[in-house]
Symmetry: C2
């Protein structure tokens, strides 16, 4: 159990929090503005004072974002966690929907890549003022 003095030594400025979490200062303020992060206490001079719990929350947010969850999805997950009595099923539902989105996006990109690779392969990159890529994409005169 930390003593009050020891707890006070764990206080972080926004710059320190930024460094510890790899999250941009301005992004941290953005997250506060949109409600993902609670407004922290301030110094007498108006500077934000973050506790360890703030840091842990921000790490969670960043991990979710890195995994591609949208801000809204992160918000839903945080609401579940904040409520303190979420079910594992609710979390899994959000996660699996996101997984589905990822799969669809990958399939989409693969199709694009395949199409583009086919078009590009028809071009040997010469100096001729014609190009199969342009010829494919630019409609002919009717």
């Amino acid at each position: 159990m930390m003593s009050p003095a020891a707890a006070r030594s764990a206080v972080l400025s926004i710059g320190a929090l930024s460094q510890r979490t790899g999250c941009n200062i301005e992004t941290i303020r953005y997250y506060e503005r949109i409600g993902l992060m609670p407004p922290p206490p301030r110094t007498a001079g108006g500077h934000r004072s973050y506790a360890k719990s703030h840091e842990r929350r921000l790490v969670f947010i960043r991990r979710c974002r890195e995994l591609g969850f949208s801000i809204e999805e992160v918000r839903v997950l945080l609401d579940l966690v904040d409520g303190g009595h979420y079910s594992c099923g609710e979390v899994k539902a959000v996660t699996d929907r996101h997984l589905e989105d990822l799969r669809a996006k990958i399939a989409d990109l693969k199709k694009l890549q395949s199409t583009l690779a086919t078009i590009s392969a028809a071009c040997n990159g010469g100096q001729v003022p014609e190009c199969p890529i342009i010829d494919t994409l630019y409609p002919n005169t009717d």
Copy 2:
């Protein structure tokens, strides 16, 4: 060779162009504003009058966008085409750089999917107030 009267019958309003190309009216105006599309002639009442050549250009733009080229990449390609004496190599360079971006993006998404699938698989979606997903993503108390 179309007669002047026949050429005049090929004139499209912006709504007609939107329908023929599947490109939103407001997006067409946006493309004009950012210079991808040239400003077309106007009717006496100020309405835009698009020729067939405008339509072909817009189809090209839409195809490139659908393939994931950024607006700037489309702009580069259009500059090449507009110059009229581009080399196939220049076009291929833009295209292959885009292909590389696509490949990187796919690899990135696959990694995310794999990570997330692993995390999600640890969750059987029950009613317990604990969740391996949250446990993985939310830092523990130090």
